[in-house]
Each structure stands twice: as C-alpha cells, then as structure tokens.
C-alpha cells in the first residue's frame, strides 16, 4: 500500500480514472450502436418494421406512418442513434406536425408496449437488482473465501474434501433449478415466504423476506466458485518463500495467514468479483425470472420478448455501465490490496 501511495499520487490516479471513464463512454456508445443494429438492421432483413411494434394492433397505414414520422423510425440508423444520444443529455421532442411530445433529459424514449416513459421504469428496477446483487455478493464473498481458506489450511482432511465436493456441485447447479427447489420447499411446503417484492424504504420486512431466498441460492452458486479459487490460490501462496520467511521471523501463524497470505489471495478473488458483480448487475435475468423480482433482468426479458426497443436500449446501457464501473472499481482496489500494483 505504501508503494502505491507514494508512486501514484492523487493526480496520477485522477488522470487514470479520467482515462478509464473515457473508455467507459466509448464502450457505452458501442453497446448502444450494437443494440440499434440488432433491433433495426437485422429485423429489416427479416422484413419487420419497428413502427408496427409501437402501433400494436392498429393496422391503419396512416396511423403507422404517423408513428414512424413521430418516432423518427424512417431516419437512417445513425441519425436515430444520434437523436437517442442527444435525448439522453438534453432531452428531445417527438413531433409529427402539430402532435408534439416533449421528453426531458435523460430521455430514454417511450416504451413501444406500454407507451410509458422508460426512465421511471429503469429507476424503479435498478434498486431491486442492486439489493439482490449487494446482499448475495456479501454472502458469497465472506462464505466462499472463508471456506476456501479453511480448506487450504486443512488440505486433505474430511472438511476439505466435503467442502470441495459441495463446491463442485454448487458450480454445476443452475440457479433456475435451485431457485425453484427452494421456492417449492420454503414458499410452498413450509409457507414461510409469501407476497410480492416491496421496496426497502416502503416495507423492510417484505423486502427482506422476498430477497432472503434469492440471496442464499445465488450466493451458494457463486460461493462455490470463490471457495475453489481461494483454496487453489492459498495453496500456491503457502509454498512461497515469503511465507517461509514470515514464519522464520517467528510470526504467529495467525499473522502469517491473516496478514501475509490473505493479502495475495484477494487479488484473484477481486478479479473474479469484478466480472461476476458486473455481470450480475448487468442482468440477473435468471434469478429475477425465477423469483419474480421486478429488477433490470426481468425488465430486459420482458422488453426483449416484446421487441420493445426503447426499454431494451435503456436496460443494456445500464447493464454495460454497471459492468464497466465494476471493472474500474476492481482495478482501483488492486492497488489497495496489493502494494506491488501501480496505477497509471
């Protein structure tokens, strides 16, 4: 830690963060453009028209033409892309003659399906996914790393073999199976859990009750991976020279493991955590569908199956944003955990 602090002053770190944020912005542009291509260019080959999706059951050609004009669906993809980006920052107006709809920034447009503003739908879904990911992440990091460390220190014992067998089983289980099993037992058979998700600030008990099962099942799957990784890393590190040196200095085993060995164990764990947390925030699609949680993942599934482009764009943008932020945070944390890492 000392090395990083002196080598990389606050200014270099700031410059690094700014450079990375620029890369994040580029990434978001690419994700948006790709989404446009998937939903505008590909379907055109297949011969469908986004205006029909918005119009729903109306088949009046004049009405569809009006919608096309108003939403700018007749414009080239790049123009539509530009209008979308502009809408995010300064808002935009949808106009067809006298029929003008004003959409203030940040404007994600209007759902094709419900004709509602997309932005409030996103702001409602994000806290759900955040709650799910934060709780599960806490459980799996603590549980997985602890199990891995104990297994490594007691290599070959009954504990080690049991823990690693359970971990391998955990890696091989799909969440939609364990999820349904847990619902069958705790919700249906025992009737401990009932009702729909409620936001944290409205009803804490209900929030907690509906999230407990998803937290535990999700954490179990991930903890398995972290336990295997931690064990492998720990075993490797315990053979390093500096551990022998630390022991030779007469340090207690607690300090050797807690302060010297653990620090290096965190680096690979963080790498995996960045990827997993990003992916989870970017769409806990399966967990949310299984447990019926109204988060970003379920919004994504609903909008994709309805080909509801404005909502899909919003969700994928936030998903990509979360992944980028998770990666950036992990890279910054490396320097905190490992003194040899230099930022810049």
């Amino acid at each position: 830690m000392r090395g990083a602090r002196t080598a990389a002053g606050p200014r270099t770190v700031l410059a690094y963060v700014i450079r990375r944020l620029f890369a994040v912005a580029m990434m978001l542009m690419v994700v948006t453009l790709t989404t446009f291509v998937i939903f505008f260019v590909l379907p055109k080959w297949a011969g469908s028209d986004p205006a029909y999706l918005f119009a729903g059951k109306q088949t009046d050609p004049a009405a569809i033409e009006g919608i096309r004009q108003k939403l700018g669906l007749a414009d080239p993809v790049l123009v539509q892309f530009w209008n979308f980006v502009q809408g995010l920052f300064v808002g935009r107006e949808y106009a067809n003659g006298a029929d003008v709809t004003n959409c203030p920034a940040p404007c994600f447009g209007y759902s094709f399906r419900t004709e509602q503003d997309v932005w409030p739908q996103l702001t409602e879904a994000i806290p759900v996914t955040l709650s799910l990911a934060a709780g599960a992440c806490l459980l799996w990091v603590v549980g997985g790393v602890a199990a891995g460390v104990v297994s490594a220190l007691r290599r070959g014992t009954l504990w080690d073999r049991t823990a690693m067998t359970v971990a391998l089983a955990g890696v091989s289980l799909p969440i939609y199976f364990t999820g349904l099993l847990s619902l069958a037992v705790f919700s249906y058979q025992l009737d401990w859990i009932s009702g729909e998700y409620a936001p944290l600030e409205e009803d804490f008990a209900q929030w907690f009750q509906t999230l407990v099962l998803p937290w535990i099942t999700l954490a179990f799957l991930y903890a398995a991976m972290y336990a295997r990784l931690t064990r492998a890393t720990m075993l490797e590190i315990m053979g390093e020279d500096y551990i022998r040196t630390a022991r030779a200095k007469g340090l207690t085993e607690r300090v050797v493991i807690g302060r010297h060995a653990m620090r290096s164990t965190w680096t690979p764990v963080l790498t995996l955590l960045g990827l997993d947390l990003g992916a989870l925030l970017g769409g806990a699609v399966l967990t949310e569908s299984t447990y019926n949680l109204p988060g970003l993942g379920r919004l994504a599934i609903e909008s994709i199956s309805a080909k509801d482009l404005p909502v899909i764009l919003g969700v994928t943008l936030f998903a990509a944003l979360f992944i980028c932020i998770a990666n950036l945070l992990v890279d910054l944390l490396y320097a905190v955990v490992d003194p040899r890492v230099r930022i810049g």
Partner: protein
C-alpha cells in the same frame, strides 16, 4: 491431433520424477510425450475418470437417442391423455406418473413421455454445447495466435475487440440476438436453424475467452529458442504459426475447451428456460424446467427430473475438465 516429436523434450523436462513409474528403476528413462504423461495422471484421478465415464455415457445416449427411445420410451411428441387427470391436468400415478411404461413419468397437461424428452434433450444440449465450443475455440485460437505473434496494430485491434466483447452484457445480447434472428436461414427451417443460431451466438461470445488465453501463451512462446531456430532455418510464417506454435498451445486449449462445454450447456439450458432456445415441440431440458414453473407445486417430479439431468451432465463435464486440467498442468505433481 498428433503430438509432434519435439514436444517430448520440452515436456519431459517439465515432468518431475514423480511421474516416472517406480518399477522402471533398472531401465533407461524414456522420454514421454505430453499425452502419455497426461493420460497416466488422468488414470489415477478417480473423480475425473468417473466424470469421463458419465460424459461418454451421455454422448452415447445423445447419439443413439432414437434407438434408446424406441426400446425404452415412447415417441417424444406423442400425447398420453389417458395418463392425465382431466380435472387438474396432473399425471394420475404417484411421483409424476412414474411407471414401468413411463420410466420418468409423463408431462403434466398433455402426457408426453418425460424419459424420451430427456433423452432427446440430451441431444440438443450436447450438440449446441460442443459445436459452440468448437466455434469459440476455432475463432479464439486463430485470432489469439495472430494477435500474439504479429503484435503491433493487429494485436491492438484484436485485443480491443476482445476487451469490448468481454465487457458486453453478454446474456442480454445473446437473448436479443437469438430472439431477433429469423427462423429460416440459408434455406434451412425448423429446429436446425435454431440450433445453428444458438451455436453461432454462444460461440461468438465465447471466443474472446479463448483468444485471450491463446494470445498470452503465444506472446511468451514466440520468444522461445526453438521458434527462433525454426525462423533462422528459413521457416515461413505459416510453418512457425501452425507447426511450431500451435502444437504447444494444444494443452491450454484442450483444458479450456473441456471447461467451456459445461458453461455452454448451462447457457443453452438458460436460454431454453427463458424461451429463447430451441422451439417446441423439440425437447430441451431448460424448456422442460420452464414448463415446470407452473406445475411444480402439485407435481415436483417434472421439475426435478430435467434439473437433475442438467446437474449430472454439468457436474460430469466439470469433474472431467478439472481432471484434464490437473493432468496437463506442467506444475502438477500428482
């Protein structure tokens, strides 16, 4: 793939004395190829062998699905309404209607034979997983070698693309692509198109993982003396890439492929579960689970059977893959 002869010298140097059989004390020590060393290690790993046997069994089941079903089951699309309680839509027998006639019970509501659908589901699952892994490995290896060997702007471009794809919200894009692509491509129709689309899309998002590993390995291998020797003897670029570098990349690629297949199986099942996989009436495990969502409270058997099928398959591949990794690990002492 045959291991070239110069491999031997490199790998005996890595393999430690632990690998030399104890009975060979009197005989001169023979050089052994990477494959021989790996196989002798794998043979001692009981868990990996068990996984391998199950994998082999599943492959046989998938290949001979029509034969197995004609012997032990019923046609996978045949309705057995007489097995269904007309009032509740649940199977009449206990445990989801398991009987000597229907080994794993019948589907709720329409009474299709679960055993046959599980056997045919294995086909879809393994086919998609293997082909997608093949696509990913092919693209990943070629682009990874090219990036690592040539460096410069080629490397920059390929690495950037890989980084970007890895930062994509992959599952969302896989679902989007799979749901947007049409049902008839290149003159094909029906479930073949869906399988092709699944293979293409899952493989496309898988190649950067392979590419990253291959690129890293190539970067270190291209500085080795034997590559320099080949070049100074006048070997062309193609020769160096495919005859000198590629054989030494076989081990990491093999390990990654075996560990990628279970991930692909889970992805395919997830897509089917979300309704973005193969279309009914083609059977798939994920689709069966998603049907079970509506009925698991009254009929848990129909949920447990496909879930356990996925679990056993993925576990077997993971056990086998772990064993292969340990066996090919140059640092391994087992």
């Amino acid at each position: 793939m045959t291991a070239p002869s110069h491999d031997t010298s490199v790998d005996t140097e890595r393999s430690r004395t632990a690998d030399v059989p104890s009975g060979s004390a009197g005989k001169p020590v023979e050089g052994r190829s990477l494959r021989q060393i790996a196989w002798s290690r794998l043979k001692r790993d009981k868990f990996a062998l068990a996984g391998g046997v199950v994998v082999l069994f599943l492959v046989i089941v998938a290949v001979f699905a029509p034969v197995i079903v004609s012997l032990l089951g019923h046609p996978p699309d045949k309705f057995h309404q007489d097995e269904i309680d007309p009032l509740f839509g649940t199977p009449i027998g206990s445990f989801g209607g398991i009987s000597s006639e229907h080994l794993l019970g019948v589907e709720p509501n329409n009474g299709r034979d679960v055993f046959s659908r599980i056997v045919y589901g294995a086909r879809i699952s393994l086919l998609v997983a293997f082909l997608a892994a093949l696509v990913a490995v092919l693209f990943g290896t070629v682009l990874g070698i090219v990036a690592g060997y040539f460096g410069g702007w080629v490397d920059s471009v390929i690495s950037r693309v890989m980084d970007m794809l890895l930062a994509f919200p992959q599952l969302l894009f896989i679902i989007s692509l799979v749901s947007v692509l049409p049902n008839d491509l290149l003159g094909m129709t029906g479930s073949n198109v869906r399988i092709m689309i699944l293979v293409g899309v899952i493989g496309f998002f898988g190649w950067p993982y392979v590419g990253r590993i291959v690129r890293g390995q190539t970067l270190s291998l291209r500085e080795k003396e034997y590559v320099e020797a080949a070049r100074s003897l006048g070997a062309g670029q193609r020769y160096v890439l495919f005859k000198e570098l590629l054989p030494n990349l076989v081990a990491p690629i093999t390990v990654y492929t075996t560990l990628m297949i279970p991930t692909n199986i889970l992805t395919e099942a997830a897509l089917s579960f979300l309704g973005a996989g193969v279309r009914p009436p083609t059977a798939s495990w994920g689709q069966m689970l998603s049907t079970a969502v509506d009925t698991y409270e009254s009929n848990p058997t129909f949920m447990i059977v496909p879930g356990v099928a996925i679990f056993i398959t993925v576990l077997a591949f993971n056990l086998f893959g772990d064993g292969v990794r340990d066996a090919l690990d140059p640092k391994g002492t087992r």
